[in-house]
Symmetry: C2
Subunit: 337 residues, 2 copies
Amino acid sequence: MSLEGYSVSLLPAIEAELQRQVARLEEPRTRPFHEMLAYHLGWTGERSGLEAQGKRIRPLLVLLTTAACGTAWQSSLPAAAAVELVHNFSLVHDDIQDHSNKRRGRDTVWVKWGMPQGINAGDALFVLSNQAILDLEPTHPTEIVIKAARILHDTCLHLTCGQYLDMSYEERTDLTIDDYWPMIGDKTAALLAACCALGSLLSDVDETTQETYREFGHYLGLAFQVQDDMLGIWGDSALTGKSTESDLVSGKKSLPVLFGLGKEGRFAQRWAEGHVRPEEVNDLAALLASEGARLYTQEIVDQMTNLALQSLRLADPKGEAGEALFELANKLLNREA
Amino acid sequence: MSLEGYSVSLLPAIEAELQRQVARLEEPRTRPFHEMLAYHLGWTGERSGLEAQGKRIRPLLVLLTTAACGTAWQSSLPAAAAVELVHNFSLVHDDIQDHSNKRRGRDTVWVKWGMPQGINAGDALFVLSNQAILDLEPTHPTEIVIKAARILHDTCLHLTCGQYLDMSYEERTDLTIDDYWPMIGDKTAALLAACCALGSLLSDVDETTQETYREFGHYLGLAFQVQDDMLGIWGDSALTGKSTESDLVSGKKSLPVLFGLGKEGRFAQRWAEGHVRPEEVNDLAALLASEGARLYTQEIVDQMTNLALQSLRLADPKGEAGEALFELANKLLNREA
């Protein structure tokens, strides 16, 4: 069974588990509150549906890892829901912190319901993730449930640290590539690492294998983020038409930008002069590439991808779920947008 | 040993446990992030110290309940830290949602570090509470640890529901006293109930006794909040000098106000005309009292107090810790500010 084959059964099961978890808020008094979460998760409101729900990559990783370790994926559904709820909690708060109006082409929660309710909706998604992970209890030994909860909470602490670093970097002008890795390690890679750690913890594999799966998730997360940084400057939507979406305009200190700043050449000079206008984006992206940033960034993507695939091979995932895991990794790392 | 006697040993132990939990953020990279939390918790920055730390009522309740159930309070310290961290997470987010500049006489976190970092600091306090509760593991059976975590998470969901209701009430003009109870039940009473539920869960008492302690905390919370509503209109700081602190000026739909609105008399008339100015506060508070609101509210405080003390007597707390619990309840419910 291919990744697509798996997705046909996994994705509806993930959605059903998420809905079961969020239903804790479905009391008459808190129905409009429930609606905020249902809207954000893409189930209701304008243009709801698959596109609005996102790709559910994190819960897929949890379930495929469990299956590739030889255990029925169904028993990991509460953990799959938990990581997706954590991811969405961080998105809801991110959108407020970044003052972002749109998420997956739709108005963000805080735009629709105001900033105070937006903060609270994010908090609720966070609480629901904590409740979801404990729903592993009927099917797993209590020691394993506590280990799973610990992985989830430790990961959330990394997320807040990554968020702190990311926001504090906005004001700093002294950053180098060395500052980049801890930030994306905490902000992006930690949660993907947790998905694979959880998926394998909830099966019968030994601790060494669990650690190898965790490393796969970690490098996958790093590769994914650096790839994202590439696309943020040289991707289609960054260069053509909507060049306001370029990371050069938002001023994000992504890996190619930090590389360019380190070169102290014409790119660094232009960057120091202040805010980049959309009409400059094409020339500046070409300038940055000419200083070697694009090649460097692609090399890093390739390195991290190799490390991820190496870890995955070492973990030795079994059967068709194992093949689907390789497929998911390749799909994530070869995307164009 | 009196409540004061207990406080001498309990309060420093609570502070030490909180510091141990928050120390998870004490890495060189995240030191300024750690500082935000240390400042909010009253340990550092301008006018740090006992006043800035607050009364730590919730952790005291946890520890005294455990002791009154005949178990050494030390083993409940992680749970005590967890409830205090939850309380402070909600304060940090509350201050952003209410746009409050001051907390215990000091600048709020978001005023000092900006709204985005403030949201993230609250999130971190929340994560730390989740991590703290799992630190019960070495000293308690895993089933009990999971039960404790479940109590904590269920309570947090109540907090978000209460917060949702409270914020949604701001815009509503059709509220009655019936809308009041679920809101303060979720927003205030749930956490105090959790303190007593946790404190007794972590001892050897049976489930009926645990439920009785939970009820004690629940009624204590309701009594505490209604008392707070009394002070918000007829308390010293609401009436004299800083009458901007009156709930009549902030427009809070507290119990006396909802009572007054239900009377549809002169108070309701004035309320419908819009924002109350500080110079009107004394006359309006007197008008509201003349329509019976003060007497009514005091009766409710007395009722809830009686229910709380009745539950506590039924729980039959043991020894000096038991006496200290009664003392704490009486102190909370007979405060003047």
